[in-house]
């Protein structure tokens, strides 16, 4: 593969270039922050368009560091969508970010670039670099509102625990490199195939999992999640709960699909991941029950969804990995709807607790119904995407023999319905605390409708999304 294929890596290049250009432009020309936001959206669109022509190509470039296959393409598309949605959230939440200088819009560009890079990773070095690009940008974004102590506290916590995770990650990579003598995924796979899994390699795998566990916010590395979710500005919380988590799982899939795929490895990591999944599902759902602050509640909910996703990963089968991708798409739709409604509420001086949501159905049926559909989809009640995701994940786990895990998953999901229903209850039953209807920009109205209809439609007519997910997993052989 001659280096001329550089163009293929366009999305990352465009994003970074766009980011740098906008940073310069902003510092020189003092652009108004809303305009910058729109420009950022434009950059994302351009990157997306550049992606289209290369959908079917398959290539491994940069001396085996970077691969381009259907899995990577769908991953990049996913993260571009996430990027655009976060930017849109920031635009809507403009008022709440007082010192809203343009960086708040531009930084996510770099973060999205990092995530896109992660989708094509084939080497631990590139993995480390891309992961750190994402993490560090998120450190800054979480602590962006310097005037708000909560944001600062969240930033500090995220940074320290993040730092720890990075340290473990690097130590893991070091040991894997030490054991196999190479950082290439296929080399590691070859080594494991020939020499089997020695203690050093296992040690490396353990530390690697610690680092990735942090990213996915799975128990026991979830400690940061609730506080950071609550403290961070709402668009960034959305970004964390979807973008960063998805990045974690994309890497997990990449890592388990290629280097650690052979049965000898699986004998070690499958029970471990299954245990992590069970713990996350139980803790996520139980700890969310008494929560009153919605963002903190969604934090715990994201931990429980990390658990369900891990169930998919633990089933180490084609169906399992496809279900993880489908579940991520369902999770994307539901979470962003919820956060969009939250952002709109915050703009109307509404707080973040469930009580502030009360009576929303009478104030603005669209918002109430969007939030309700998001909650119902997260709770896994048909006919929404969330349900089909859970169905796939449980089916995959059961087929690969993890019967106990499915039972635990089902029980935790049942316990979980309570706090989703509490949100729905507050909105539909009680009378409004804050009076007056909520102004919703037509574009946002359109976006909400799209997310709602998507969530219902693709919950029933699952074929397109599922084909995308399955294709991606099949395509990731490279």
């Amino acid at each position: 593969m001659h280096e001329g294929l550089w163009m293929i890596a366009a999305p990352e290049v465009i994003l970074v270039a766009g980011g740098v250009f906008l940073l310069l432009a902003e510092s020189l020309a003092k652009l108004e922050s809303k305009a910058v936001g729109v420009l950022v959206l434009a950059v994302h669109l351009i990157a997306g368009l550049c992606l289209l022509p290369f959908i079917t190509t398959r290539a491994v470039i940069w001396d085996g560091l970077y691969t381009w296959d259907r899995f990577a393409v769908s991953g990049k598309a996913f993260f571009l969508v996430v990027g655009m949605l976060v930017t849109y959230l920031s635009l809507e939440g403009e008022a709440k970010v007082p010192a809203a200088r343009a960086e708040f819009y531009i930084l996510p560009l770099f973060c999205t670039a990092g995530m896109a890079l992660l989708c094509s990773v084939r080497d631990f070095v590139l993995l480390f670099v891309a992961l750190e690009l994402v993490t560090v940008t998120l450190f800054v974004l979480v602590a962006y509102r310097r005037s708000d102590p909560a944001s600062l506290e969240a930033g500090a916590k995220y940074l320290i625990v993040g730092g720890l995770a990075t340290a473990f990650l690097v130590m893991g990579i070091a040991y894997i490199f030490g054991a196999t003598g190479s950082t290439q995924f296929d080399a590691v796979a070859g080594f494991a195939e020939s020499e089997g899994v020695g203690p050093v390699l296992l040690f490396g795998l353990a530390f690697l999992l610690v680092g990735l566990g942090f990213k996915a916010a799975a128990v026991p590395f979830h400690i940061w999640a609730p506080d950071v979710y609550q403290g961070a500005p709402t668009p960034i919380t959305a970004y964390l709960s979807v973008g960063s988590k998805a990045a974690g799982f994309v890497v997990l899939l990449r890592v388990f699909l290629l280097p650690f795929w052979n049965t000898d490895f699986q004998r070690h990591w499958v029970p471990l991941v299954a245990l992590l999944a069970a713990l996350s599902v139980v803790l996520g759902n139980l700890a969310a029950l008494p929560q009153r602050n919605i963002k903190r509640l969604l934090g715990y909910s994201s931990i429980s969804h990390a658990g369900f996703l891990l169930i998919g990963v633990a089933s180490h089968s084609f169906l399992g990995f496809a279900s993880v991708l489908y579940y991520l798409m369902a999770y994307l739709a539901a979470t962003f709807t919820a956060f969009l409604v939250l952002v709109l509420l915050e703009r109307e001086k509404g707080g973040e607790t469930i009580a502030d949501l009360s009576g929303l159905a009478q104030r603005s049926p669209l918002l109430a119904w969007s939030m309700a559909l998001a909650m119902v989809s997260l709770a896994g009640i048909p006919p929404l995407m969330g349900f089909f995701g859970k169905l796939l994940v449980f089916l995959a786990a059961w087929e690969s023999g993890l019967h106990f895990l499915v039972i635990v998953g089902v029980a935790a999901a049942a316990a979980g319905i309570y706090y989703y229903v509490m949100v729905v209850r507050a909105m539909f039953w009680s009378d409004p605390v804050h009076q007056g209807p909520i102004a919703v920009h037509p574009a946002t109205r359109g976006l909400l409708l799209a997310l709602n209809v998507g969530s219902i439609l693709f919950g029933f007519y699952v074929k397109p999304i599922l084909a995308l997910a399955a294709g991606a997993v099949v395509g990731s052989g490279g």
């Binding site: 625990v161 530390f207 026991p220 940061w224 070690h268 990591w269 245990l275 029950l289 008494p290």
Partner: protein
């Protein structure tokens, strides 16, 4: 054509319920014509002009075939004639009795419903069809007893009647199921009953089926509802609680006799139940002051006689007595009804007195009925009771003497109420102004009085109709004993109550009806209330609160504990993180 028997009253009941409830005139007309049609059809059938129609398959599934058809053998024809005849007379009588009651439209509708279900029982060809109409009769008696639903006592009486019947029907259904399980069919088919012959289930099946009769014909222990059923209007008591419904139990026994005769033990149990009921009812009747309650207990006692007869394998005797009893008991009730009608529903005999002079027709017909019931020779009661005593004497002598004693008691309490109510001086203001009931109530009385006299004689042909052969050795002891019993009862009654102005001898045991009601209230009802309250408490607290909400509480407790894990202190987070990493290492290297 024969379907008219069932269709006419059903259609009339439906029409009244749907359309005519608010127009009494129309509903009366519809109901009476329906009753007349059934009577004429019954006559047609009796004369052999109308044949039994083909049967329709009500439920036809592998393993169970239930048909709706008609058996019109001699037993059914006799019963049809008696029931439709008496029913028609009572319909006419009700015109007068219910004249000024605003709800009389509904009353006639319910009468038609009852008539249809009663005929259904008579003509049914299989157990399930009989069970269907069996319960429908229970429903219509519930509606009719509770006709004046504003009265709390009537509402409670209706519920009590239905529940008692229901318990009986429970036994009846179990009996049907047992019969079906062993003989493979639900039809009245003696050939199929062979399967039950040697089987140990035979007595159980027979007794379970007998439960149905206990419930319906108010035998002990399910008899408590009959006296309370007097809360209903008098035509109802006359029709249902004298002539037809209560007799259905005995008719059922005769119809399924081919099952009962398979087990002698069951027959003796039936006989003894009949005997005891007859005696106990007669004893209670002697101490009752309400004229309708006396007649109610007397009905219970006569039904005891019939059950006794069936128990002694004397189905023809039982049917003979059933028919004659139908006539004179309906007469007595209607007589009492016309007295009540005149005395503005005053039912206590001690507040009547001297009514005979004021209401000669009622007095005369009531007298004939009372005489027939008492068993005075020459009247129908004497012949049919004689027949029962004969059969009792031949098979179970002990029961014969009980029956004879009951005959004496019957004579005693009949003379008592006749003397106290109709003769002597009027004891209350309302009794003095009593005047004769209108002719529309009088005519049925006269017809029934005629029947009460004539029905017993052979030329009337009931026995011949039933196909009974003259049994040769009639022991002379029986007529002698019954005659002395009657005479004894009459004289005792006359002496006791010739010029009595108030009740002198009061026996609390009898007056309080052997305390059956109290016993039932205390045992069954209390037990049921306590059990219900306990179980409801368990359901609400143990299952509802403790298990369900307890489980939910545990889950939320778990949530609370996990929530507190998040203490917000950065250093603890780092510690947990390290702990997690250590855990992973341990796990990976553990096994």
């Amino acid at each position: 054509m024969a379907w008219l028997l069932l269709l006419a009253p059903l259609v009339s009941a439906f029409l009244v319920w749907v359309a005519f409830r608010r127009h009494p005139r129309a509903s009366q007309a519809v109901s009476i014509t329906a009753s007349l049609i059934t009577f004429l059809t019954a006559i047609g059938i009796a004369l052999g002009k109308i044949e039994a129609p083909a049967s329709l398959a009500w439920i036809d599934l592998p393993g169970l075939r239930v048909e709706i058809g008609m058996t019109l053998d001699s037993l059914a024809r006799l019963m049809l004639l008696m029931v439709t005849g008496v029913a028609f007379l009572i319909h006419v009588y009700s015109l007068g009795y219910m004249a000024e009651d605003p709800g009389r439209g509904r009353f006639f509708g319910e009468l038609s419903l009852f008539l249809a279900s009663m005929i259904g029982i008579i003509v049914s060809t299989n157990f399930i069809m009989m069970y269907i109409f069996w319960e429908l009769v229970g429903v219509s008696s519930y509606l009719l007893i509770g006709f004046w639903f504003e009265k709390n006592s009537a509402a409670d009486a209706a519920r009590k009647a239905f529940l008692a019947n229901r318990v009986g029907d429970f036994g009846f259904l179990l009996g049907i199921l047992t019969f079906w399980a062993t003989c493979g069919t639900v039809a009245f088919d003696p050939a199929a009953a062979r399967g039950l012959a040697g089987n140990s289930l035979a007595p159980i099946a027979a007794l379970l089926l007998f439960c149905g009769c206990i419930g319906k014909s108010a035998q002990i222990p399910l008899h408590v509802w009959l006296p309370d059923a007097m809360e209903g209007p008098t035509p109802v008591s006359a029709l249902i609680h004298a002539a037809t419904m209560v007799a259905a139990g005995v008719y059922m026994l005769c119809r399924i006799f081919f099952v009962l005769e398979l087990s002698p033990e069951a027959l003796s149990v039936i006989a003894w139940t009949g005997g005891i009921t007859a005696l106990v009812a007669a004893l209670i009747a002697t101490q009752q002051n309400d004229i309708k309650r006396v007649l109610a207990y007397s009905t219970m006692s006569q039904l005891g006689y019939m059950v006794l007869a069936v128990g002694c394998a004397g189905t023809t005797a039982a049917m003979f007595h059933l028919t004659t009893h139908g006539f004179f008991k309906a007469l007595l009730f209607m007589g009492a009804g016309s007295v009540l009608h005149a005395l503005h529903h005053e039912q206590d005999i001690w507040r009547m007195g001297g009514v005979g002079r004021k209401m000669p027709l009622t007095f005369a017909t009531f007298g004939i009925g009372a005489a027939a019931l008492a068993g005075i020779p020459g009247l129908s009661g004497f012949f049919s009771k004689e027949d029962i005593l004969q059969t009792a004497a031949q098979s179970k002598p002990a029961l014969f003497w009980i029956a004879a004693l009951t005959a004496a008691l019957t004579a005693f309490y009949m003379t008592r109420i006749t003397l106290v109510a109709f003769l002597g001086k009027p004891r209350t203001e309302v009794a003095t102004h009593a005047k004769e009931s209108p002719l529309v109530m009088g005519i049925p009385l006269i017809i029934l009085a005629g029947l009460a006299i004539v029905a017993g004689y052979p030329f009337f042909g009931i026995l011949h109709y039933l196909g009974a052969q003259e049994s040769a050795e009639k022991s002379l002891l029986v007529p002698a004993a019954s005659l002395t019993a009657v005479i004894l009862g009459l004289t005792a009654g006359a002496v006791g109550y010739g010029r009595a102005t108030r009740e002198r001898i009061v026996i609390p045991l009898l007056e309080r009806k052997f305390y059956f009601d109290e016993i039932y209230d205390w045992t069954i009802l209390k037990l049921q209330e306590e059990a219900a309250r306990l179980l409801a408490w368990i359901d609400q607290w143990i299952i509802g609160f403790f298990l369900v909400r307890g489980g939910a509480f545990l889950v939320s407790l778990g949530g609370e504990m996990l929530r507190l894990l998040q203490a917000g202190n950065l250093r603890e987070y780092a510690f947990f993180f390290a702990l997690g990493a250590g855990g992973i290492l341990l796990l990976l290297f553990g096994h």
